[in-house]
């Protein structure tokens, strides 16, 4: 199922907000959403929540013969799955571009940077090595999958304990967790991906884009760093052009963010270790407080609402009062009445080619309440203005397969009925009796 496209007014709203330095959830431009890490009962299982984006990471291992050209190294295998649970846009079984991109990015970030010591995974050179498999599942998609996935992967790997192995001569003994304590993997460093979203051809920059912001961005830059300020991977995507200064600035910001996140991860890991040592209950069930009143509490979004009331009053005062929409019902016959006048039939005007009049775009709609024009004189001005705009052609609102896209605009009849929402984007015009214009309809 294709996800519903973002409407034009939402897009322009988001872009305008970003231009003013505001984000939908009240964050600053360089702020991350809340990161919550919880562990499962088994070692190597964790769920990372970045805002509402959730990724489940699970690490498992088994003994396999090594690769032919690398007989003394273990094998690490990463796999990220976009489950349909996360978003209706993801379909099972189809390899989409996004999936390939994310998987390759994760592979490069974690494997090529050698964060795990693969030589330590070797049991018998040339015959048996540990194959560590990291499976990541996206449970909910609210933007910025790659950051959450990289955090989940590295947390799961740090949390994981593999079975202890001892070698006597030719004999290899694998101990179960009951016989001997399982051994953690040796991790050199923790690479974490930080995503930067660029808007307006690179003029504005946001860290940790949410789902909506991801849909209006021009391009993205992902930098993977560890806390020693070593860059593990850089990847630019989307079709934008970057400048060297932007890249350097992003890397500095990434350094700061990665330090914070690494601290958080260390704290979470220590916490979990403490709980397990004390014998307390651990696992996902425990991390979800069921019986408390605050179990389903949603955090307040820190949006700036200081002068909302004055602004709203200002807009309302400038707007015109809604017109008298209710007119007396006209009785035609018993059981048939008419309230108000219907819109004039405009089907026959569809064939007219000249004099295109376009529905006003949503750009200016937020500011001006309406262009409620009631007189013919003003209407001429408007249609003049709109004819200039008619160079811009149809506005495609969806990826429909139809050739022609037509934009509906609510006609205003002689009794000027206004649309119910004053901040609506539709411009209303009067229909002159005889003047024919071409109207465009949108679906």
């Amino acid at each position: 199922m294709r996800e519903p496209p973002l409407s034009n007014c939402e897009k322009s709203f988001l872009l305008k907000a970003i231009r003013e330095g505001k984000r939908l959830d009240g964050r600053e431009t360089y702020d991350y959403r809340n990161i919550k890490i919880s562990f499962g009962t088994d070692y190597g299982c964790c769920i990372v929540e970045l805002g509402r984006t959730r990724v489940l990471g699970q690490v498992s291992c088994e003994l396999v013969p090594p690769k032919v050209n690398r007989p003394t190294e273990g094998i690490i295998f990463f796999n990220l799955e976009l489950s349909p649970m996360a978003s209706p846009a993801f379909e099972l079984g189809r390899q989409s571009e996004l999936l390939i991109k994310l998987n390759r990015l994760l592979e490069r970030c974690l494997r090529n940077s050698k964060c795990i010591d693969t030589e330590s995974l070797c049991v018998v050179a040339g015959e048996k090595v540990w194959q560590v498999r990291v499976d990541l599942h996206l449970l909910n998609h609210e933007g910025n999958i790659i950051d959450a996935a990289s955090i989940a992967a590295i947390v799961a790997l740090s949390h994981f304990r593999r079975h202890d192995v001892s070698i006597q001569g030719d004999e290899v003994t694998v101990y179960t967790p009951e016989e001997r304590e399982p051994v953690p993997l040796s991790i050199h460093h923790m690479p974490i991906c930080v995503s930067f979203a660029f808007f307006q051809q690179g003029t504005y920059l946001l860290v940790d884009p949410s789902d909506r912001e991801e849909r209006v961005l021009d391009g993205m830059l992902v930098i993977a760093m560890n806390k020693h300020r070593e860059i593990c991977t850089i990847q630019s995507s989307g079709g934008i052009m970057l400048l060297k200064e932007q890249v350097l600035r992003c890397s500095k910001i990434a350094g700061v963010k990665v330090t914070e996140i690494t601290e958080l991860i260390q704290k979470a890991l220590e916490n979990d270790k403490k709980i397990r040592k004390e014998g307390g209950k651990c696992g996902f069930v425990e991390s979800m407080p069921q019986q408390w009143i605050t179990a389903f509490k949603v955090e307040k979004a820190p949006v700036d609402v200081t002068d909302v009331e004055e602004k709203a009053e200002g807009i309302l005062s400038r707007a015109e009062p809604p017109a008298e929409a209710v007119s007396k019902p006209v009785l035609w016959a018993t059981g048939t009445a008419q309230i108000g006048e219907g819109l004039e039939s405009s089907w026959r005007d569809m064939e007219e080619e000249e004099g295109q009049v376009e529905d006003e775009d949503d750009e200016g709609a937020i500011d001006d309440p309406t262009l409620a024009v009631t007189q013919n004189i003003e209407m001429e001005d408007i249609s003049g203005k709109e004819e200039k705009k008619s160079d811009v052609d149809v506005v495609v609102l969806s990826d429909s397969e139809e050739e022609e896209v037509i934009i509906l605009e609510p006609e205003e009849s002689r009794i000027h009925t206004r649309s119910k929402h004053p901040a609506d984007s539709s411009a209303t015009k009067t229909t002159a009796g005889k003047k024919k214009r071409k109207k465009k309809f949108a679906l």
């Binding site: 998987n103 390759r104 090529n112 300020r229 860059i231 593990c232 991977t233 400048l243 890397s251």
Partner: protein
């Protein structure tokens, strides 16, 4: 690889180049007559062939058509005999798909797609011999092929790979240097405006060195631009002479 020094004390690399020297670049445009545009480039031992078809009507489903721009469709494939070990599948594996996506992204930014709404431009790149710098050779070859096809672009797209050994950035890595595992950066640049179309980095590099490496890479891309420009001008001169103008 004990004993193989990537950078000797005198500053020479394995193949005798200095740290900032590019490999020898030889290129030719208009290799195939049937395609709209084609180009062949040899960067040292890496040989890449690029072919452009278009702009033409969208093949396949019409729903892919964009109403205001052209769709850029790429495919990156390596010949099975191009690498030291024989490759089983020429394309379709993860790495080739990733390269395809990167190429598409690079050229969507560079080509003036607004001039061809509802059409499709196909760019097919083939690696005949892989000796390091595959992606960069592809980008350079594709730039020449697009020019040969007459499709307008914002600027040349020049790409170069850079590594970092012992505090020195090495430019235009060969296969041995890439396989050594040090940090590698692939940069696709529009030379006149110094805008980065694609930036890709692997392996660990300390943040403080990033600027040095980026500078070296940009300089190398500008050198590549000088070579490609020469090739294009020579080709145009040759064609004009043959046409008798």
């Amino acid at each position: 690889m004990a004993g193989l020094e990537l950078l000797s004390d005198q500053g020479y690399r394995l193949d005798g180049r200095k740290a900032v020297e590019l490999r020898k670049i030889q290129a030719r445009m208009g290799v195939f007559a049937q395609a709209d545009g084609s180009a062949y480039i040899e960067q040292g031992n890496t040989k890449a062939l690029a072919v452009v078809y278009g702009p033409h009507e969208i093949r396949g489903s019409r729903s892919k058509a964009l109403h205001d721009r052209a769709v850029v469709n790429c495919q990156y494939s390596m010949a099975t005999f191009s690498t030291g070990e024989r490759k089983r599948r020429p394309h379709g594996d993860r790495k080739s798909s990733e390269m395809t996506l990167h190429l598409k992204q690079t050229f969507e930014a560079a080509i003036l797609t607004q001039l061809y709404p509802r059409s499709q431009i196909d760019i097919y790149v083939q690696i005949l011999q892989a000796d390091g710098g595959n992606y960069c050779a592809c980008v350079n070859a594709a730039t020449l092929a697009i020019m040969d096809a007459g499709i307008p672009m914002r600027d040349y797209v020049c790409a170069c790979s850079t590594g970092f050994i012992e505090d020195t950035p090495l430019v235009d890595l060969c296969y041995v240097e890439e396989a050594a595992g040090g940090p590698q950066l692939a940069l696709a640049l529009l030379p006149k405006s110094e805008q980065i179309a694609l930036l890709e980095m692997n392996s660990r590099l300390h943040e403080d060195h990033l600027e040095k490496v980026l500078d070296a890479a940009s300089k190398a891309c500008r050198d590549v631009y000088a070579v490609l420009d020469r090739v294009v001008r020579d080709h145009v001169q040759e064609v004009c002479t043959l046409l008798g103008e």
